[in-house]
């Protein structure tokens, strides 16, 4: 069976959910080997094994965190040349995609981004134009480099040996051009990451102020959900840009998306219409967002949202 290389996404050693999703996909294609750049690989092996990792290649160097993207691309390229894998899988995150792009240039292999499904014969599914069209595509030159959208494929456990293999790898100076001089982490509290969350609650212009976003956060926390925002809300300065959902923001496809005070402009829909279930709270029955709703409440969000939040907390306690 062909070896499939997976670039692990981790947060300072903690395995990100998308990595387990990549493993789930890779098992259908061949023997999954995880490439782990940075610290924490040995500790993570157990978790990676739960999702079927056959091998874990560990290259631990501060260079992977201290320089932007290029060192990881060098490592992945070195391993990919040596192992001649059947495919290389990365997360379609900002960094994952950029690593994939550099790897493609180094090797001349084709790269597909934002893939939401992959068949055993490596035909990829890509939703395009905000999910309005789905294309089937393939990388037809060299080893396919596939960037898979987080949350698109459900991770399923299956045991694997996760044999550790230390990789001697010195990051070449040429990859040390862009130096990270400071890393600033914003507290997200216990909320899940927007693109990985099972539930997303987003607020729009109807929310009315930054302060009122407390309502959105309250509902989100009751459901252990991430918070999103429309561009109108972000432009007004009510919520930070990294939470914008849509054409020029994040694309999310959670199990449940709740749109509160959002009209449903085509550019907003582009970021959320592939969600499994959609709930809408809006006081205008003509708002186009209702066309996407599995369940919609026509009403004032300032009445509906607090009542809904209280009821969820009540039911959760009773449950």
């Amino acid at each position: 069976m062909a070896e499939i290389l997976i670039l692990a996404e981790h947060d300072g050693g903690a395995v990100k959910k998308v990595t387990t999703e990549l493993l789930t996909v890779a098992r259908e294609l061949g023997e999954p080997s995880v490439v782990w750049a940075g610290p924490g690989g040995e500790e993570a092996a157990g978790r990676l094994g739960e999702f079927g990792a056959a091998k874990v290649y560990i290259a631990d160097s501060p260079d992977f965190a201290d320089y932007v993207v290029a060192p990881k691309a060098e490592l992945l390229a070195a391993l990919a040349r040596e192992k001649a894998p059947g495919a290389v899988l990365v997360a379609a995150s900002q960094e994952g995609r950029e690593v994939a792009g550099r790897l493609a240039v180094k090797t001349g292999w084709g790269v597909l981004t934002d893939v939401t499904g992959l068949s055993a014969d490596l035909i990829a599914e890509q939703p395009i134009f905000g999910g309005a069209i789905t294309v089937s595509s393939r990388a037809c030159s060299g080893v396919p480099i596939i960037a898979i959208r987080p949350n698109a494929i459900a991770a399923e456990p299956a045991p694997g040996p996760a044999v550790l293999e230390k990789v001697e790898f010195a990051v070449p100076d040429a990859a040390k051009g862009a130096r990270v001089t400071e890393r600033v982490r914003k507290e997200r509290g216990s909320r899940p990451e927007l693109t990985e969350a099972a539930i997303v609650v987003s607020g729009g212009r109807g929310v009315g102020s930054g302060e009122n976003f407390n309502l959105i956060e309250g509902l989100a926390d009751a459901l252990h959900a991430a918070v999103g925002a429309s561009r109108a809300a972000v432009d007004a300065g009510w919520y930070p840009h990294q939470f914008q959902v849509g054409q020029t923001g994040k694309t999310v496809s959670p199990q449940l998306y709740i749109a509160v005070g959002i009209s449903g402009a085509i550019q907003h829909r582009a970021g959320m219409q592939t969600s499994k279930a959609i709930m809408v709270i809006n006081n205008d029955p003509e708002a186009p967002i209702f066309e996407l709703a599995d369940y919609g409440v026509v009403g004032d969000l300032f009445n509906v949202v607090p009542q809904l939040t209280t009821e969820i907390n009540k039911r959760a306690q009773e449950g």
Partner: protein, 259 residues
């Protein structure tokens, strides 16, 4: 300082965009073509840096004849000159090919700083800046919210899911900027008139010492095998809030097992 801003012409995001039945490429006739909105932030960043540190802003675009309109708009905003890579053989180029062509054009014209949008609104791969940095062998400072030049070095705030990184590098370098990093200016009447006289150099593949078999659909390392429209969503339950809307909504969430 020699700044080049890469600009892509894309179909307007406000309308239903289509692929062409024959070769599965973007139907550029179906919907009006505009400047990739995120590239307006790249243009503005270039203009501000040139204003502050001196130098020229070149607008580089690869695309069919009509992409000249987008270059002209960028010049109306204040760019000094344009470079338009246009060749029928480029039709259907994937990211790998596009990056090779743009890198060849950049190598030919020379640069201290290349600025891109963080992604296009049509293909949205978001990888071109990284690919260009790799091809040109210069540092990549991508997803920047704010760009500062200090002598021979460049410093950006690179946005990430966890917050941001401060990133520094020596020039020459490739930068991509995110939405809202600045307020893109509107072309003034004077700017529009002036742009009519600004030079746009048109380059073919041959000018870049590339051949037709190195470009376009045929040379691309990826291919679309088929496409289909997403089926419309089923009509859901819409209820009017008569005082118990929140409680009823919780009922829906319970039956769907979200609570």
């Amino acid at each position: 300082m020699n700044i080049t801003v890469c600009v892509k012409q894309v179909p307007d995001t406000g309308l239903d965009r289509e692929l062409r039945a024959g070769d599965s490429t973007v139907d550029r006739e179906a919907v009006e073509a505009v400047i990739n909105e995120l590239d307006e932030f790249a243009i503005e960043e270039g203009l501000q840096l040139a204003q502050k540190h001196g130098g020229e802003v070149t607008i580089l675009s690869m695309g069919p004849d009509q992409a000249a309109e987008s270059i002209r708009k960028a010049l109306a905003m204040g760019g000094d000159k344009g470079v338009h890579v246009s060749d029928p053989a480029l039709h259907g180029s994937d990211a790998l090919v596009t990056s090779a062509v743009l890198a060849a054009a950049l190598a030919r014209t020379g640069f201290d700083l290349v600025i891109l949008g963080s992604e296009s609104t049509d293909a949205r791969t978001g990888i071109l800046a990284a690919m260009l940095a790799e091809r040109l062998g210069v540092p990549q400072l991508t997803f920047a919210d704010g760009v500062e030049i200090d002598g021979q070095s460049v410093r950006v705030r690179r946005l990430a899911d966890y917050g941001y990184d401060m990133v520094e590098a020596d020039l020459p370098a490739v930068v991509s900027v995110v939405e809202k990093t600045n307020e893109p200016r509107y072309p003034s009447f004077k700017g529009i008139m002036a742009a009519k006289k600004k030079p746009i150099e048109v380059l073919t593949l041959a000018d870049l010492e590339l051949t037709a078999d190195q470009a376009g659909l045929g040379a691309s390392a990826t291919e679309v095998t088929e496409f289909r429209k997403r089926p419309p969503r089923q009509v859901g339950t819409i209820v009017e809030d008569e005082g118990k809307g929140g409680i009823e909504a919780a009922g829906f969430l319970t039956t769907q097992k979200f609570i």
